[in-house]
Subunit: 396 residues, 2 copies
């Protein structure tokens, strides 16, 4: 019940135990095409280039940034938590001239602040996190696409922590590049990064195409300034997933099976229904921790559905409480990074763990562990408040 | 029965269906430590830094090269097949001044040729493939470590296609960096890259350490010329796998379970026994294709145990034969790249597919398909020759 990775859906794990097929077996390329189509549904996009990057969610971020950024490009990175720092870091290593804007952890930027920063820095790319589990808030993105379009700025976001648990629409919000991971609300293991790229992003990336020696043929593209990474060169990854099936990496078949199953389950459920499920169980967990008498961190107006941060009560030892929860109750909750380290715990309700039984069990266990640690808690207050949320939802 | 990826061992797939545990759960960090120890056995090394890169084997190559190479470094890449071109390509994108040496596909370099090239180019790093499935030959490496040591050159090799199917000894051969993949002789799926780094390589890499903003603390390393990639920055990956457990990527748990099981099965079997298994079934397949009357490509003295290339008989259509084998017999064999494209097929006997039944079935099916395609084949000659190899081995 931490901020992710969390338990995977058993159906996803079962899909991952299927035997492998050859890299260019027609059934394998059919799985790849199906996976592309399913993730168009998950991202709410019509982008042809919707595919998997073979690596963790961080690999997806780096693939997007190193392929979109030519060394020297100006990139604007508004930072409201740990993963904004990561975007800055990766953009810098890709050779960008990064202009960062930082606000207090737990808050989000207004569209006017973003537009003002774009006017000041004239970036080629805006790179911003959607939901940052380090602070538990989600940056509203719905107005940023229009702003970027007006200023001719490419618009990238990382939705690893938010996708499928919070409303997201790649096309309607004007995104050019989006990357994710399986290990949060998608209910799978870390190790595959679903991503989607708009035609405009594809054009920028393909302008840097340079087909590698060893498979290059007469007339093939050779670029004097290729993308700095071979593994993350999306122009080649597009050709591998596209009808050319140009050899690049060897697709991670088992992770593909898992990623495909994550998307299949979500598309079956309906993306809006999945978001509503996260909203309900997240609301129950929020009410529950408040009902126990704990103080919640961050701007509740912009809270992610799938994770809540609570202040560690005075006099209670962070490690001891988390250790007892894990060792005696089999429940993991998260510690924190940076300015919040040692100050808050992060409790997730996401993916396969966004369920009534997990919410109630966690609240019951947390009450017992906190009481034993000497904290003042309201007996039954957590479970009771969560039940009320569920009863209201059932009556509605 | 292609040159890989091939079928995974069902025991590996079963291990991969285990439920996830948290990133810093004591059982997870114990799995990580166990995996490091097991791969020390697989690579035959005592290197502390023996771990997994989260991505395909190509990700392992890029992690090693981008972390070892500072822009402007001279790198020597002897090329004897497709994957030598890949090493050159990745080294170039990492900013190296690459000096390549090429020989005809199907042959290998002599130690004297390598030493001469080192004298001429004075590289910081020698990067060379061990077994290249594109040509089916393995470059002897056993004398190169001494040569590199004499000239103060770091020694890197990619053993994706050869490890566990051919003799390999990281320490005895003086390797500084080695990367692999699961999808060949290790019997797993693509998507995790086992790797090992000598203390000298670790020193070079850690000299470039720069801890990322967001988790950096007072006194932590900030380097003016950090490694160009964040995801592949091995100095941070070492700290993630080491006792510091410094947050970097979110380990791909399911792939870790798979990689751990691949190594566990090999260490149980014994590395030398595993190599002998590949030698036996590879010898049977070689005798079998020769018994059918097919001509084998490449230097047989340096043939890899786990893959053989045969010339496509005159008058036979490449795609039609491979299509019939796949669609009617459920057996995949491989086509080829570059100068060998359309000229040879590549047939593998590796990992879970290094078995008597797979060898005999493939030879029986190939005979039928070739006969129907109008090729002249010796009836029963393939299976008969393979049986002889097995009988000789049983009698020995």
């Amino acid at each position: 019940m931490g901020p992710g990775p969390v338990n995977a859906d058993p159906r996803v794990l079962r899909a991952m135990s299927a035997q492998l097929v050859g890299q260019y077996d027609p059934s394998m390329t059919a799985y790849m095409n199906e996976t592309m189509a399913l993730y168009r549904g998950v991202f709410k996009t019509t982008n042809e280039q919707t595919l998997l990057i073979d690596g963790t969610s961080r690999a997806g971020i780096e693939a997007a940034l190193v392929s979109l950024i030519s060394p020297g490009d100006r990139v604007l990175v508004p930072i409201f938590g740990r993963f904004g720092h990561l975007l800055r870091e990766i953009a810098e290593r890709a050779g960008a001239e990064v202009h960062a804007r930082e606000i207090e952890w737990g808050t989000v930027f207004t569209p006017a602040q973003i537009e003002q920063a774009i006017r000041e820095t004239k970036p080629a790319l805006l790179a911003i996190v959607h939901g940052d589990t380090s602070t538990t808030v989600a940056q509203p993105l719905d107005e940023l696409g229009d702003i970027c379009a007006r200023h001719g700025v490419l618009f990238y976001t990382d939705v690893t922590a938010s996708l499928a648990g919070n409303t997201f629409q790649a096309d309607a919000w004007g995104l050019d590049a989006v990357t994710a991971g399986l290990q949060k609300c998608l209910g799978g293991p870390s190790g595959s990064a679903p991503a989607t790229f708009s035609p405009r992003a594809v054009e920028v990336i393909n302008a840097r195409k340079s087909i590698e020696a060893g498979i290059r043929e007469a007339g093939d593209a050779v670029n004097a300034h290729p993308i700095r990474s071979n593994y993350f060169d999306l122009s080649m990854v597009f050709d591998y997933w596209g009808p050319k099936r140009l050899n690049h990496h060897t697709e991670a078949t088992t992770m593909l099976y898992g990623a495909r199953e994550c998307a299949r389950l979500l598309v079956d459920e309906g993306m809006d229904t999945a978001v509503e499920r996260h909203r309900l169980h997240g609301a129950a967990m929020l009410a529950g921790v408040q009902g126990l008498g704990l103080n919640v961190f961050g701007d509740l107006e912009h809270r992610m559905n799938n994770v809540v941060a609570v202040h560690i009560p005075d006099g209670v030892t962070d490690d001891a409480v988390r250790g007892e929860l894990l060792n005696d109750f089999g429940i993991e909750i998260g510690t924190s990074f940076g300015p919040l380290r040692g100050l808050v715990w992060r409790i997730g309700t996401m993916g396969y763990n966004a369920r009534k039984d997990t919410v109630l069990t966690t609240l019951a266990a947390l009450e017992q562990v906190l009481r034993r640690a000497g904290a003042s808690v309201t007996g039954g207050g957590g479970v009771g408040a969560a039940y009320e949320v569920y009863q209201d939802a059932a009556g509605a």
